[in-house]
């Protein structure tokens, strides 16, 4: 009934949507299977994209030609550049989004791609032939053939929802879980684990007293995620901040004996950095208040997301406690918070293309790999989609390294270290934070993606122009000087010591008190020279400033990174028998056998593999 496809994508969340789009844009015929095609790229939890480290990932997805950035821009109700004061490596774009619009924009994009077909159903088992995935069987009893399969099951595999002492099967509240697929995969030698996550209550904005809260507005000059022109953010809605208090905590504690977290009915691990409110009260008993963000769910809705109040306590306990929060005295609730447990497959079972080791042509992306977050899921979907397509075309795999992208850090962490709690990206996970900035994701990645046929020529041209503008600007600053009479007023205003004689402009810019726009204000010929990049003026100015101010640190990290990548270029055969190497420590032998690294760089990042083990490996590998 259905034709054979190149790629079947199972699941229509953030990972599935990016996977389908990327594979289709690389000329694969794609079938997207989702149990509810009306909920494509649903924001199941927080109605926001980006933030610290995650915002960098969205920029990277955009630079590679994915759509999460564009969709976020189109559906944004607020934009903020976080960490403005903390240096360019920390600048992190974040949008608050209209949940419904976000999903709608994604569906429009997918529908606009010719190579994507849709099928509303549930995949219940995999068709495997000679160790290769060749299609799926569905709940409706349909068998669909394909050259490869990408599984993006989110929280649906054996999903179980907890509210207080009640629990029931479900992939999200109001949606059925998927049964049988985990068991099916385990028959092929996969091991699976269990994870837990949670979501806060949604409340009625009309019942809140915002005058008792602190308003948090969007940026005065909002930026956006996509490097492409258009979709500027012009109007914004505010969020609000309020706090819990000891009365709230006491009321919540009354429900602890019925909490699935504390009475033993949830055994699996939740994310440490996104704990439930009961977990926060329990672990940090000395704190008498916790911060809450009151976030609107969209333009045309009164529904509010209570960020920071994730809970699986009984619903009556949730309601009673919430009424004691400042501004929440008369709160009416749309739906209570809940916790959900679901199956994941420890990601040590993956290659760096996100293809699985036990079954060829099968790819995993998103929460199935133990990650959390839309951004983390979306970028994995993108990488899986690209690689599924490239493999069909018999082209070289697309792998990003740790010094090229947060996406590279994420996948490398997953496949070499695995994860036992939901994995979220932090900038501190990146060794080369100074290199992996949101302002240069296009410079880092667009050319690479353009080469494989994904990022458009338009994108590449913009990158080239931006680089040219940067070069011209940096050169200008190194050749031209600032004279005391023209610049000392500025310096005085900025509390920077006055010039006694002429000084090169780049030396001047290196002063922490000055920025590039101060200099551009005075140095008119500089602005004129950059006239040819006026469409990208702000981006180019930022690049010039960062290049001049942070040169030393950038060079240092680059040379460190160069050392590292040398190890990445030494390949390890998949059939290597580590137990034969008597010089390796026993721990290294076990860890390497489990993780099966494909190159020495990966091996070096496996805990338990010491530098001397690496030297030993190096000797064997280069023989």
């Amino acid at each position: 009934m259905l034709p054979e496809y190149d790629v079947i994508v199972v699941g229509g969340g953030h990972a599935g949507a990016e996977a389908a789009a990327a594979a289709a844009n690389l000329e694969s015929s794609v079938l997207l299977i989702s149990m509810d095609l009306g909920r494509i790229a649903q924001m199941s939890c927080n109605p926001a994209m980006g933030g610290i480290a995650k915002g960098q990932i969205v920029r990277e997805i955009d630079a590679l030609g994915g759509y999460s950035g564009i969709v976020s821009d189109k559906s944004a109700i607020q934009f903020r550049m976080l960490n403005r004061s903390k240096g360019p490596a920390m600048w992190s774009p974040r949008t608050q989004n209209d949940r419904v619009l976000f999903s709608l924009e994604w569906r429009k994009i997918l529908e606009s791609i010719q190579n994507i077909d849709f099928w509303q159903d549930t995949a219940t088992s995999l068709i495997v032939k000679d160790g290769k995935a060749t299609g799926v069987k569905t709940g409706l009893g349909v068998e669909i053939k394909s050259k490869s399969v990408i599984l993006t099951s989110g929280t649906f595999l054996n999903g179980k929802i907890h509210i207080g002492d009640k629990n029931f099967g479900g992939g999200r509240v109001g949606e059925s879980a998927v049964y049988g697929l985990t068991e099916n995969l385990k028959e092929y030698g996969f091991s699976s684990g269990r994870m837990k996550t949670g979501t806060p209550p949604r409340v009625d904005g009309r019942s809140l007293d915002y005058s008792k809260m602190i308003e948090q507005q969007g940026d005065k000059k909002p930026g956006k995620f996509s490097y492409l022109p258009g979709n500027e953010i012009t109007k914004q809605r505010s969020c609000f901040i309020t706090y819990t208090n000891s009365t709230v905590h006491d009321l919540l504690k009354e429900g602890f004996d019925k909490s699935p977290m504390f009475n033993g009915s949830i055994q699996s691990v939740g994310p440490r950095y996104c704990p439930s409110i009961e977990d926060k009260i329990n672990r940090f008993a000395e704190r008498d208040r916790h911060q809450l963000f009151v976030e609107p769910e969209g333009w045309d809705t009164v529904e509010i997301y209570v960020n920071g109040f994730s809970t699986s306590l009984p619903e009556d306990v949730q309601f009673k406690a919430m009424k004691q929060i400042k501004g929440f005295e008369n709160v009416r609730v749309f739906r209570p918070g809940y916790a959900i447990e679901y199956d994941y497959f420890p990601p040590l079972q993956l290659k760096n293309t996100l293809e699985t080791k036990p079954i060829e042509d099968l790819y995993f992306a998103g929460q199935i790999n133990g990650t959390t977050g839309y951004e983390e899921a979306a970028c994995q979907g993108l990488v899986a989609g690209i690689n599924a397509s490239l493999k069909i075309k018999e082209e070289a795999p697309f792998v990003l390294s740790r010094d090229e992208a947060y996406i590279g850090v994420l996948i490398d962490d997953l496949i070499t270290k695995g994860t036992e709690e939901p994995y979220r990206m932090f900038t501190s996970r990146a060794e080369y934070r100074i290199l992996l900035r949101q302002d240069n994701a296009d410079i880092r990645l667009t050319e690479m993606s353009n080469k494989i046929g994904l990022a458009s020529d338009e994108r590449l041209k913009r990158v080239e122009l931006k680089l040219k503008g940067k070069d011209v600007g940096v050169k200008y600053l190194s050749k031209n000087s600032a004279e005391p009479d023209r610049f000392n007023t500025l310096l005085e205003n900025k509390n920077s010591s006055a010039l006694k004689q002429k000084s090169r402009l780049n030396t001047l810019l290196a002063r922490p008190q000055l920025d590039i726009r101060d200099i551009a204000e005075i140095e008119k010929p500089f602005v004129e020279e950059l006239e040819f990049v006026r469409d990208l003026k702000d981006e180019v100015l930022d690049q010039i400033e960062i290049t001049v101010k942070y040169q030393g640190y950038i060079e240092k990290e680059k040379s460190l990174a160069d050392r590292l990548t040398k190890l990445d270029h030494i390949k390890i055969d998949s059939d290597i028998d580590y137990h034969k190497f008597s010089s390796l420590s026993m721990e290294a032998r076990l860890k390497l056998t489990e993780a099966k690294p494909t190159n020495l760089g990966q091996a070096s990042r496996i805990s338990g593999v010491s530098p001397s083990d690496l030297s030993v490996l190096l000797v064997y590998l280069t023989k």
Binding site: N46, G51, I52, A53, L82, N83, S85, K86, G87, P88, A89, M90, Y243, P271, R272, Y273, C274, P275, K280, F284, R287, H290, Q291, L292, F293, N307, G308, K417, F426, T427, S428, R429, E431, R433, I434, P512, Q513, Y550, Y553, K556, E557, R563, K566, F581, S582, S583, L584, S585, S607, S610, P611, S612, D613, S615, V616, L618, V619, Y620, T622, K623
Partner: protein, 457 residues
């Protein structure tokens, strides 16, 4: 391993003879040596030898013979320079330190062989031997290294590093969780901490530069009656360790000194042979005359012949020595030589009275007990210069790197350096300190964050 780096190490075993060979391998070998050699070698042909002087500024470090091997024509297959120096431990260390200051990097254990292998200069069976060597070396090296940092300084570094990790976590915390309601790193406290660590590290770095231990070794006076077996013991110690470095005939000194490296520590043995005998019983043993030497000795080794023992005399001598070492605040080791010839009942008496080390210098029996005892005294900080801690070039390099990064962070705190760069400097410093105490990973930082702070909206 980075093959663009030029590596340097001592190629001959520690102090095996009158000559020590330092080898460099890598693209900058000739250029780096030219920086400290009395003539420019960059235009010289391969396989040529050049006589000249190694200079540190105006100071002549040694007269040496330099042999050049151009790219592809050497043991490692890379550009190689071999410098034949005089075999003093101090000179060799000094030359190596000078070369590392000029850009060479200390070779890791087996790295020359490894490079040779990678450049196709060795066959597989040789390479497998290298692999075994690396595995055993690196473990031993770490233990030795930690052992060398005596006087509680390694513990201090560990503790300061733990404090720095805590602060690094705070800095990372305010970067990754700035949106959340968490406490941030107090800049003044951070500055205080950095300054504290900087002071400790600077002292350590200085101790390496001016360290008397590394220059002169731990002075050990071997005293005893003629024929007690002093020379035999000395030779046994030196042979045992294959560690004779140099034999300097002292023109202004009465004694002959010999250096020996035991467990990575240089000991300078002062032989008191050849001192005139007098009527006085004690002085006849050369002990009184040796007092002068003993003042500068850290350890006095009193050796007696167990086969020809006079308990009364021994009592007198040891009592006198005990007084002397107390005055010069050195340590006394009593050694019973030829102990295999000792009668059982006498042995029991001596053992109870003086707790001596029983050995046989001639048979080389129980020498290791003496060596361990010497090392123990050094490692417990009982002897030697109290402020000299770092005797290991690799430590010196790591500490210098750590200090540089710390200073950047310190200055950065004053000039308003942004958090991302501050974190980069602190990370770098932690990385270097970690080279001494063990590894740090970003996981450590995250674990610290999650265990101490309430994170999460």
């Amino acid at each position: 391993m980075n093959k663009n780096e030029t590596i340097v190490a001592l190629a001959t075993p520690q102090g095996i003879g009158a000559i020590g060979v330092i080898r460099l391998s890598g693209p900058e070998s000739i250029a780096i040596v030219s920086l400290v050699f009395s003539k420019n070698l960059t235009q010289e042909a391969s396989h040529t030898a050049h006589f000249g002087r190694i200079k540190n500024g105006d100071r002549i470090v040694d007269e040496v013979l330099v042999t050049l091997f151009k790219d592809g024509k050497s043991y490692t297959g890379e550009e190689v320079v071999e410098i034949s120096c005089h075999g003093s431990h101090y000179i060799l260390q000094d030359v190596i330190r000078l070369l590392t200051e000029k850009g060479a990097v200390l070779a890791k254990p087996g790295e020359f062989t490894l490079r040779a292998f990678l450049n196709g200069k060795l066959d597989l069976s040789q390479a497998e031997a290298v692999a075994d060597l690396i595995a055993s070396n690196s473990e031993a090296a770490h233990k030795v290294a930690m052992h060398q940092m005596r006087g509680g300084f390694s513990d201090q570094i560990k503790k300061l590093r733990a404090d720095l990790i805590h602060f690094a976590s705070l800095v990372e915390l305010e970067l990754d969780f700035s949106e959340e309601d968490v406490e941030f790193a107090n800049r003044d406290d951070l500055k205080d901490l950095i300054f504290k660590i900087h002071k400790v590290i600077s002292a350590l770095v200085e101790s390496f530069k001016s360290g008397n231990v590394i220059k002169n070794g731990v002075p050990v006076v071997i005293a005893g009656k003629p024929n007690a077996g002093k020379s035999t013991l000395l030779n046994a110690l030196l042979n045992e360790e294959k560690a004779l470095v140099t034999e300097i005939e002292g023109t202004t000194r009465d004694a002959i000194e010999d250096e020996s490296v035991i467990g990575g520590i240089v000991f300078r043995f002062i032989d008191t042979a050849g001192i005139r005998e007098t009527e006085d019983v004690v002085e006849s043993l050369g002990v009184k005359k040796t007092l002068e030497k003993m003042k500068e000795a850290a350890i006095v080794c009193y050796l007696f012949d167990a086969a020809r023992i006079d308990l009364k005399e021994l009592d007198l001598i040891i009592a006198s020595l005990k007084e002397d070492v107390q005055k010069s605040s050195s340590e006394l080791l009593v050694v019973a030589n030829k102990s295999d010839l000792l009668e059982k009942d006498k042995r029991a008496i001596i053992e109870e009275k003086y707790e001596p080390i029983f050995l046989s210098a001639k048979e080389k029996r129980n020498l290791e007990i003496l060596e361990n005892r010497l090392l123990e005294l050094v490692n417990l900080g009982k002897v030697g210069e109290q402020d000299v801690i770092v005797t290991n070039s690799r430590h010196h390099q790591a500490l210098t790197g750590a200090n540089e990064a710390l200073m950047r962070a310190y200055e950065g705190l004053d000039s308003g350096l942004t958090g991302d760069l501050l974190a980069a400097d602190i990370r770098q410093s932690l990385f270097h300190l970690g080279e001494i105490t063990g590894e740090v990973t970003t996981e450590d930082l995250l674990d610290n964050i999650f265990s101490k702070f309430c994170i999460g909206k």
